[in-house]
């Protein structure tokens, strides 16, 4: 007797609870094994790049917040660096240090979200997520002190930041620096050597360095395959040359190394924040209006600036026609490009690995669709 069997195609998303936003996958299964994945995106497209053409250079900062809404500070930083390069603005040192503090704190917050939701996708009922959200909350409160906003910060301006940090920010930052290593230890005690997490993520969705480089994948996923590539070291911007930190690199290229790498990167980011606090000196946080006016008119030309975002290389390409708003603005969003290898990672794995891999890539739909 022969049993007729055929592949089954399931549409996952865009309303699925764990697609991290409105993402849709058409997945074909043979039993529990995935034999094909077709990612479909565009459900959150808001036309940010087009909108920027109608706004002044300073107003575009608010659009960058809404791209990757769990790492707004990093988006601000990348965009501001592009504007500064296009206009030849010399930033004020205190502004740059504050920028670095804010963006490294944002990197920690973003990695906390990534780890929390990775474990949530693994099926833990919220406990690791609430642990990491508790720490993220402290960072968001510090952002509120800095600029009055928690998520959509719009903190940075060409030449520095929007305003100086109040005293209470420094107080809570120093207590955060003291407490955070213990909090990461607590998270790691719960997760890192947990047998279930280990068996679920180890050896799943393996990428080779060749595959990752050919698909121009960046960020923690690239570093988890063994390629030591971090723009903060390879193409330093701001004052990253002056601070001392390590780039954690793993060579397994699986979900577990992605998780562990993020945990280690959080510790390194904290190291950077600590040094920034030591280096920072009193002074203006941005150039006076005489030097950098509110309505910036960059000379004709274009520029591309990339920073190491929390999810990979975050590039901003700006074309100026000499007017007050950009002629063209293009974003190289790391989330979108990191998704391109989803099929290669997933084919051959089981249904249970699907969303774990998805959480391991750590995408943000706001950035994928822009």
């Amino acid at each position: 007797m022969s049993i007729k069997s055929e592949p089954i195609t399931i549409n996952l998303g865009p309303q699925h609870p764990s697609t991290h936003g409105v993402f849709r996958m058409r997945v074909t299964f043979d039993g529990e094994t995935i034999i094909d994945v077709e990612p479909i995106f565009g459900y959150l497209h808001r036309g940010s790049e087009k909108l920027a053409e109608e706004r002044t250079y300073t107003q575009v900062v608010t659009l960058t917040d809404r791209m990757d809404y769990v790492s707004s500070m990093l988006n601000n930083q990348g965009y501001i660096l592009a504007v500064e390069k296009l206009t030849n603005i010399q930033p004020e040192p205190r502004g740059v240090w504050l920028r670095m503090i804010a963006s490294e704190l944002q990197r920690i917050a973003s990695h906390l979200v990534a780890i929390g939701f990775l474990i949530q996708d693994l099926g833990a009922w919220g406990t690791p997520l609430t642990y990491s959200m508790r720490e993220r909350e402290k960072i968001l409160q510090m952002f509120e002190m800095l600029c009055g906003a928690r998520i959509t910060n719009s903190y940075m301006r060409p030449g520095g930041v929007f305003m100086d940090a109040p005293q209470q920010f420094w107080d809570s930052l120093s207590s955060f620096i003291d407490e955070f290593p213990a909090a990461v230890d607590e998270l790691e005690r719960l997760l890192t050597s947990n047998e279930i997490i280990f068996s679920r993520t180890k050896g799943v969705a393996i990428l080779t360095p060749e595959q990752a480089i050919n698909a121009s994948i960046t960020g923690p996923i690239l570093r988890s395959t063994g390629v030591p590539w971090d723009l903060r070291k390879n193409d330093p911007y701001d004052y990253y040359e002056k601070v001392d930190f390590d780039i954690p690199v793993h060579d397994a290229g699986d979900n577990y190394s992605r998780y562990l790498l993020r945990v280690q990167e959080m510790r390194e980011s904290l190291k950077i924040v600590k040094q920034c606090v030591d280096f920072i000196e009193p002074g203006p946080v941005r150039p006076h209006h005489d030097q950098v006016p509110f309505l910036i008119r960059p000379p004709k030309g274009d520029c591309y600036v990339a920073i190491e975002g929390s999810k990979g290389e975050l590039g901003f390409y700006l074309v100026s026609d000499g007017s007050i708003s950009p002629y063209r603005w293009h974003v190289r969003s790391s989330s979108l490009i990191n998704l391109t290898l989803l099929r290669e990672m997933l084919v051959g794995t089981l249904f249970g690995d699907l969303f774990v891999t998805f959480g391991g890539i750590d995408i943000n739909m706001g950035e994928v669709d822009r």
Binding site: A124, S193, E195, K202, D246, L350, F355
Partner: protein, 399 residues
């Protein structure tokens, strides 16, 4: 219990009218209805309390408050939820097989309540005492798989079918170790009646049959679809699994059935391994309640801490781990039962010692064998190093 209520009713009947036809039949029926009413409502109240307790406890575990609005400490929250569920719109998908779609929730709920009929709530407080009640419990719990596959098939939803196939695979795999884990107890007690097992437990069987207790606990977690075996309704993968297309009170019945199954599993575990109603000073029903609450707390604790396994790992655990452990347990227990045949009080202690010495090490051994690999060695390989230092493996060979 039955005779007690029967006699009271008989006495009351005699006060009103004497010599009616079929008096014994009427009395039996009434007694049955009273007992069923008490047990079902007790379990329903327990379900409401469990839902509230689970949400409060999970809140505690996750450093948040949990429900605290309705009633003191939010104790009326689940009651409000139950009322809300009853008034929800009941949607049946167009392609659904309506008859099976409607019957499936009942198929899940009814067997769970039937389990409680053979549970002794006190030394003489039980509904029925069947001489094969241990086997009866095992048989009845298997019906839940039928309900899940009916629900999934009838709702014509592919995700639901995934969930149902997982459920059936797990049920088939875990029935065997769960059933075999009870063999040790049955050998010691030489009876299949839960009542006899309870009376025999001067020492709780978890101390005498540690391997069986571990296997039975893990197996019942898998059968009631609890973390880390909650693959059937893995919300991050299958949304709600087989209940995807259910709404209103039908969904509420599934919810009720699951929580009642959790209570049933905890009750059966307490009865078979923790001594059931045995205990000093307090009446038996209090001891049973304390033990059930303890087991449920443990189940919720596990849910708050651990992620879930993948389907192949779950089946591996059943076939490569628990199945072997039950065989070891049966061998050790049957040899020790043959050696110590005298029915004195030391017999249990000797059998227990034999189990701890010869069977329990296999638990550690098999769990160590099943472990993916040791994390500490892994961490040494992936050291972090500053950029710019040579990574010869990558730079020279691969680019």
């Amino acid at each position: 219990m039955f005779e007690f209520i029967y006699n009271i009713l008989d006495f009351l009947f005699d006060l009103v009218i004497k010599d009616i036809k079929f008096e014994s039949y009427i009395l039996t029926g009434l007694t049955g209805i009273i007992i069923a009413f008490a047990v079902i409502n007790g379990v329903l109240g327990g379900v409401l309390a469990l839902i509230w307790g689970e949400r409060r406890l999970l809140g505690r575990f996750q450093q948040r408050t949990g429900p605290n609005r309705w009633g003191p400490q939010g104790i009326l929250t689940s009651t409000a939820d139950a009322v809300k569920v009853m008034f929800k719109e009941d949607i049946v998908p167009e392609e659904a097989d309506r008859y099976i779609f409607n019957v499936a929730p009942l198929l899940l709920v009814i067997p769970v309540f039937i389990i409680f009929s053979v549970i002794p709530f006190g030394i003489s407080l039980y509904a029925v005492d069947i001489n094969v009640s241990a086997l009866f419990i095992l048989a009845i719990t298997s019906i839940s798989g039928l309900s899940i596959i009916c629900a999934a098939w009838a709702s014509a939803n592919r995700i639901a079918i995934f969930s149902a196939l997982r459920s059936v695979a797990m049920l088939i795999s875990y029935e065997i170790p769960v059933g075999l884990s009870l063999v040790g107890i049955l050998l010691i007690c030489e009876s299949m009646s839960v009542m006899d097992i309870v009376i025999y437990q001067k020492i709780p069987f978890i101390l005498i049959q540690p391997v069986a207790a571990i296997v039975f606990f893990l197996g019942s977690l898998a059968e009631i679809n609890r973390t880390p075996f909650d693959l059937t309704e893995a919300e991050s993968e299958l949304a709600a699994g087989y209940q995807n297309d259910y709404s209103g009170m039908k969904w509420g019945l599934f919810y009720l059935g699951e929580f009642a199954a959790a209570i049933a599993a905890a009750t059966v575990f307490s009865t078979l391994f923790l001594g059931g109603p045995n205990g000093p000073v307090l009446p038996g029903i209090f001891w049973l309640t304390i033990k059930v609450v303890g087991v449920l707390f443990f189940i919720i604790w596990i849910r708050a801490s651990w992620p879930r396994f993948r389907i192949d790992q779950v089946l591996n655990l059943a076939w490569k781990g628990l199945f072997e452990l039950t065989l070891v347990n049966i061998i050790v227990t049957s040899i020790s039962v043959i050696i110590w045949t005298d029915a004195d009080s030391n017999r249990l202690i000797f059998i227990g010692l034999a189990n701890w010495i010869f069977a329990f090490p296999f638990v550690l051994l098999i769990f160590k064998m099943l472990k993916t690999s040791n994390y500490k060695n892994e961490n040494k390989k992936s050291i972090s190093y500053p950029i710019g230092s040579d990574n010869p493996k990558f730079i020279k060979e691969k680019i």
